[in-house]
Symmetry: C2
Subunit: 470 residues, 2 copies
């Protein structure tokens, strides 16, 4: 972040509106003004300063207000509040706002939204609320939303937009352009026109620039390209995002099991998905679930307990390894002083290998063809760094306790543990992935267990054997 | 990954071509076919099966071949090899391929590419090679590439495409459409037409769907919207990506210091940037730099040494804390057995807090307005989980060594370290961010140092004091 802030200090202001300061954070002056206006129920001020905001800017504002202020803002702005902003805030805040609204009002709101935004809000509600809201919608919307909600969570069908432009293949470019000029119900933005047969079966698509480059008499079927990348509605959103990324798609048709066009997925939704999914891996590697900044203390601590609990168990495992050698430690306390170094360095080396492996699996750069090569590489790296740090630690430790033997023992233990770290760091994620467990979730725990246990066992074991104790 | 593979087993095949298997990995059958063809110099087979691939598919193929096979493939395919694929492979592979080519050939290649792809390849080369290649290019390209290369690395100016469609404001929609129908030199794909004055100063932009909805006589200046989000060429690519994301842009004008239109940034490039930047944070938290799967053993181990070295120093720091209490340990070895648990649990709790903080800073969800609230929350979480696990560990430890006092001591130490973990986990990233250091790079080391030192000191210190030793 830091560097980016340096690069674009002055230009920034042209790009983002006044409400942001140079660092891209909400401007305190502006924010204070809004809060003050909320406190004195100044509807006009709010309509003027908040009414025109982009949905994402309004979302930023909501996230910076207290619950009461949020409610007040929405109440004061009435119809001029853009509820699309709800798709831009934490789930916790979205729920808090929506649950404070009567179902009638929610129905009013979702009717105005694009179908994908509406579904985004509806999917968080509980069954009966959702049903009650859907029943209050006009038939057409009700069917659309129901259909989208029937697809699994995080599927393309959930994210898709059911508004799109579709024309028959036998139309000319001229007809198509005239249709777009006259038709009212077009989506706000679109970059493709889809070509369908009477049964809504998808035949192909035409990019708008293609239409614009073709003479009016050109036939759609002549300039359309068959859509190689029609997305099945049941496909997982991450899978869909990868296809967008690989083929640089701006939008893609979403089709049902009968190849019928049911909606479109657009790049801007996909960008959010890509962000989310990378986010997910970071959090899982760090041992936190899908918690959000707006979560309460209790929710947060509860959500973090499981991971800590698993780590506690493995910590006891490591401790019991130490206990095996307590006799040795009693006679050479230096071992107790040095043993965390061996375990810790192994843990760090392993987490390096693991990070690379987990990401390579997520982005599918790692597969059976190069797995063998990567394993060999990591073993090589583990060995080289093992030797390097073995010498370093050996010398320092030997000098510290003026005991060359301890230096030799810790050096040997270090090499062993660095090799174990390399193996664990790559094999455990690979294995988890094979058996269908998300490597990002579970790898850290198992890997550090291996390096702790190996580290303590190798170091204390070697010492016990060398000094002929135990 | 796992779940996504389950969801879309059969549909997958429609979406990705035959060359991929159900898991989205390159099909072994297909790959073997290609390799065999390379070995028997079967140009026709390669032209037929590889010539038609999408650049990203060709990129995948290259990454799965050995260096020799890659060279052979490129040699055999000659002109039918799509060098755009070079933008889809690891930097190491790209360099290996490009450096094997004579500069004349590289010049030939880059002339055929879109400017952004060309720059992507040129920026990796060393000064004189680049100069020699540029000198062989026609004047127009040379100027374009030079200009792009003058902007800082990872800036919008480096990523931008210098091909775009720009028209004067006084043109009608009809004129614009006719121009696009007749003009040959248009970019392959575009979703916006830019409006400029004679001095190339940016006046605004029109989305293609807007043009298609407007009657031929409509004036461009009447339907154009002023581009609120013109990106300064010097802006960092991550900053630019955040603006694309926030405002759901498909493409944006890139302007120089005089507001002149110099190029455009398109969403598909931005998607890659977003991916890269999230990637960067994961790697930095895991203690690995910008290494790539294709890097050699030596490159990799060298790049990982610094982080391990820093961790080694902090490990010695923690060890010296233990040494202070070696007398105590000698008398109660149980302490040596239990102390890693206290330190380890603190480290895990801290990494949870740190992960959340680092990401919140990267996505700018965390700023001075909510910092205080988040710090309070993390302290609360640290205290609650501290108490929970203190009781757990206290009981187990007390029972394990049938010594209630040790149970009490480890429980107290645990609460202290969990609080230290919470504070370190949020304050250290915040501090690093304030002083302009990327929190993702440095946080882990400092945070774990704090939890190790505090853990050992609290546990062993309390024991020494309680049992009146030392």
């Amino acid at each position: 972040m830091a560097d980016s802030q340096q690069v674009d200090d002055s230009p920034d202001r042209q790009v983002r509106p006044e409400i942001y300061d140079e660092d891209g954070a909400l401007s305190s002056v502006w924010l204070d003004g809004v809060v003050a206006a909320i406190e004195r129920d100044d509807t006009d001020y709010l309509r003027e300063h908040v009414g025109e905001l982009h949905e994402s800017e309004l979302g930023d504002l909501l996230e910076h207000l207290d619950p009461e202020e949020r409610q007040a803002l929405i109440r004061l702005m009435g119809t001029s509040f853009d509820f699309t902003a709800l798709t831009e805030v934490d789930e916790a805040i979205r729920l808090e706002i929506v649950e404070a609204m009567p179902n009638e009002q929610i129905a009013e709101v979702v009717r105005e939204l694009d179908s994908d935004d509406a579904v985004y809000i509806l999917e968080d509600l509980d069954e009966e609320d959702r049903k009650e809201i859907l029943d209050q919608l006009p038939f057409r919307e009700r069917i659309r939303f129901r259909r989208a909600l029937e697809y699994p969570e995080e599927s393309a069908g959930r994210r898709m937009q059911t508004e799109f432009v579709a024309v028959p293949p036998f139309w000319t470019v001229g007809q198509t352009i005239d249709y777009m000029r006259d038709e009212e119900g077009l989506p706000d933005r679109f970059s493709q026109v889809f070509v369908i047969d009477p049964s809504f079966k998808l035949l192909g698509a035409v990019d708008l620039d293609q239409i614009l480059r073709t003479k009016r008499l050109g036939k759609i079927e002549d300039i359309m390209h068959e859509t190689r990348h029609a997305i099945p509605a049941t496909m997982d959103q991450e899978e869909a995002a990868q296809i967008f990324e690989q083929y640089d798609l701006l939008s893609a048709a979403v089709v049902d099991e009968n190849e019928r066009l049911v909606g479109i997925l657009t790049i801007d939704d996909v960008v959010d998905v890509i962000q989310e999914e990378a986010e997910e891996d970071i959090r899982r590697l760090g041992g936190v679930g899908d918690e959000e900044l707006s979560d309460t203390v209790l929710t947060t601590s509860r959500s973090r307990v499981p991971w800590l609990l698993v780590n506690l168990l493995t910590a006891f495992l490591a401790a019991s390894v130490i206990q095996i050698f307590d006799a040795t430690i009693q006679q050479i306390v230096a071992l107790a002083v040095l043993m965390p170094i061996v375990a810790g360095m192994g843990g760090n080396a392993a987490s390096q290998t693991m990070t690379v492996t987990v990401r390579a699996l997520a982005t599918r750069d790692l597969d059976i063809y190069n797995a063998a090569r990567i394993i060999r590489r990591e073993l090589g790296v583990g060995f080289i760094n093992g030797v390097v740090f073995a010498m370093l630690i050996g010398v320092v430790a030997g000098w510290w306790f003026s005991n060359a033997q301890i230096g030799g023992i810790i050096a040997a233990a270090m090499i062993i543990n660095m090799l174990a770290a390399a193996l664990a760091g790559i094999l455990i994620p690979l294995l988890l992935d094979k058996i269908g467990v998300d490597p990002a979730v579970a790898s850290t725990v198992f890997v550090t267990t291996v390096t702790d246990v190996t580290g303590f066992f190798a170091f204390l074991g070697l010492a016990t054997w060398w000094f002929g104790m135990g």
